[in-house]
Symmetry: C2
Subunit: 496 residues, 2 copies
Amino acid sequence: MFETAELGRKISRQEFKAQVPQLRTELLELQQQLRTADFSVIVVFAGVDGAGKSETVDVLNEWMDPRGLLTRAFDPPSPEEQERPEFWRYWLALPPKGRIGMYLSSWYSQPLMDLVYGEIDQASFDQSLNRITTFEKELADDGTLILKFWMHLGKKAQKKRLDALEKDPLTRWRVTKSEKQHWKMYEAFEAVADRLLHKTNMGEAPWYIVEGADHNYRTLSVATLLRDAIHRHLERRAAVGEKVSAKKTARVETKQPHTVLSRLDMTQKVPRAEYELFLEKYQGKLHRLTREAKARQLSTILVFEGVDAAGKGGAIHRLTAAMDARLYQVIPIAAPTDEERAQHYLWRFWRHLPRAGRVTIFDRSWYGRVLVERVEGFADDAAWRRAYAEINDFEEQLVEHGTVLVKYWEHITEEEQLRRFESRQQTPYKSYKLTPEDWRNRDKWDVYEQAVNDMVAYTSTNFAPWTLVEGNDKYFARLKVLRMLCERLGAALSRH
Amino acid sequence: MFETAELGRKISRQEFKAQVPQLRTELLELQQQLRTADFSVIVVFAGVDGAGKSETVDVLNEWMDPRGLLTRAFDPPSPEEQERPEFWRYWLALPPKGRIGMYLSSWYSQPLMDLVYGEIDQASFDQSLNRITTFEKELADDGTLILKFWMHLGKKAQKKRLDALEKDPLTRWRVTKSEKQHWKMYEAFEAVADRLLHKTNMGEAPWYIVEGADHNYRTLSVATLLRDAIHRHLERRAAVGEKVSAKKTARVETKQPHTVLSRLDMTQKVPRAEYELFLEKYQGKLHRLTREAKARQLSTILVFEGVDAAGKGGAIHRLTAAMDARLYQVIPIAAPTDEERAQHYLWRFWRHLPRAGRVTIFDRSWYGRVLVERVEGFADDAAWRRAYAEINDFEEQLVEHGTVLVKYWEHITEEEQLRRFESRQQTPYKSYKLTPEDWRNRDKWDVYEQAVNDMVAYTSTNFAPWTLVEGNDKYFARLKVLRMLCERLGAALSRH
């Protein structure tokens, strides 16, 4: 597949100089437009050593407004990075909307090197590429423009370059040991690169193969492709924006008679004496389990979702009371900050993933996408529908990394909710919990119930099943939450 | 100093129950007011094991709205935390405005344990306490309300508690080995605690000693003190807010004839041929030095400040062109995000400190406080005046940690600036760089020059001196920037 990139194409100094001013102006103008656009741009640079990857990034940094650019390169993961799933650091390094992120040694480097050096077999290589295409697709679905440049250099051309650099004492430092070694392994790299490019060449994130031997040619190629892609994407996004707002108003909800919630036995109860006995028992157990999990570097993530006033806060409190305050963090999810709004909706959850051995409790979570955002129309139809798959993929990465993930839906009946709302109104120190929005949500009970039903249906995977908690009786609910966590943690520790 | 906390004070269950509803309501109401206030609250819990620190935090979490609270506890620093100055993790864990941060095992834990266990001597203990008081004072000056609770328990009371917990199989897990050991070292802890409390008891961040033996007494004490402090602070801040806005309008600038800038020799030049030769030489040198710094875990922070159009971008570009893209990050400082605005102005710089061996380049920096914020009146008089000391303290922490810190002021004359503005206007791909604000700033040339003069005078310390760069000739300026960095890095590596 690299034949077209060994043609010896060149652009003369004169022609280059003639083209640059216009191109720079266009790039800068597009950057200005991009600043207020609702998407970010990701540019991946990969390819053969010495084919001008970092030189090209350097030129782009010079030509464009550096305040709108961010350049990243990833070393092998640090100990703290290894405490999270592999893609954690890639998520955190994404550019916010309106900006361009340029990646040298990106998520492609590790799998490529690992296969070339025989650290992994082809099956796990392919698996890594799958993970990458899912990642890029999610970003593309969110509107991100992704371009990937494979900078190529034939074996002979590379040798020529290395020799020339080495002869000059001023540039000799550029020729490192690993570059020389890679040249000797040229064929192995080429075979792996070929597979990598074919497997990850998607419509939403295409590879552009660029002949890298001539500075002028490769620079103009990359800059022109980048210019055209941003230009097209700005136009396309503007068109999509109009369509979406048209769609929103036309949204209709079909109501279904039975849901997974309507089949819960909401009469289950626990007497007070029994509750107190078991509460103490489970809290003691949970304390020991979380300490052991800390010692053995096992992380836990808890998700609490539920009907308003179903007792999420009370249940969370019974868990935290049993844990060392050093070990857990409660993350309440409300409106996103502007830094969060400028990213994919999953970004704000990636940033809070716990270090090894800790517990993170999300009081509401990424499921807002398929609950409130769906019901209130904050996310358009396509967005919340594809969120099920995105969420499953996210959770799979957590579980594959070894994290214990427990998801609770705290449920109460409509009648019980009314009773609790009225009681909150009458208790001064509880009244702050009750907002006009709670009453409005109550009017949409059926729509929410349908959304919950779909959520459970689509995201109760075998690696991350939902735990539905019958919450009309608080004692019953709290014990169920505690017991389930102890079971899951205990099982994970015995496997760990 | 602990006699007053061994009086055996108690509050009966009845009285406790009678007082709680009113107190909770008041705390919740204050929390509501706090949400829109312009300050955060820091509550430090320290004291004797078993005196109810975490139990009290737990009760407050139950009584108050958990969405406005954040509870933190600090383990011994992780490898990644050790790559930054000690206070990095404390800065990043600060609550944003409108919220309350509660700290178990805070910045006081490490020095206290270290002195008790003989890891450090009393002089370094006192030094640590100085660092702490400076930290707390800076936060208090920014409006933060700081309360520190020392939870106390007499030696006998503690023994009684441990015995009772151990007798009951359900609570036995609470008695850890280290708690037993600490009980045996009671007198040593008491002596160190006494010194710690005296040395760090400041008006802006007072210690409250609370007798911890009785749950009801200590809970009501802490909650009442917290309520009163928040109440007072809300009133005081409202009053301060009015005064400040009155002051702003009355601000007057005194102009001085000579400044450190007027004495620069702005005629210095380098011919093109010489420039190209030395550029290549210094870039090669810088490349080797930054690689060595990476290998030896030496971090570098560069600060670029300067007159508009003085060539900061061009100079930065000549540095980055010589460095491996994996090693550096350019942080352009523009308007803060809302997460940054909700914190002390230094927070946004703390968050970007480089890992060991990396280079962070700030394109504009914390000096905005004493430049644009001073000149435009964004910071009030007291705020920018105390910033000199705050900045010196910040930089001292960087340098003490071993970071190489180089600060450049890029300067050009008024005439040269005019020439460059006009040239930018005429070059299409440069015109984006020129904003109406640039012309407005030009009108305030004298005021800015005075601010720069003061900045250099007050913040050119022996550990972090300013490098003034005569920038009328770009070649001269770029070489000076490169040469200075090579010198400073080289010197640091030879000492390292």
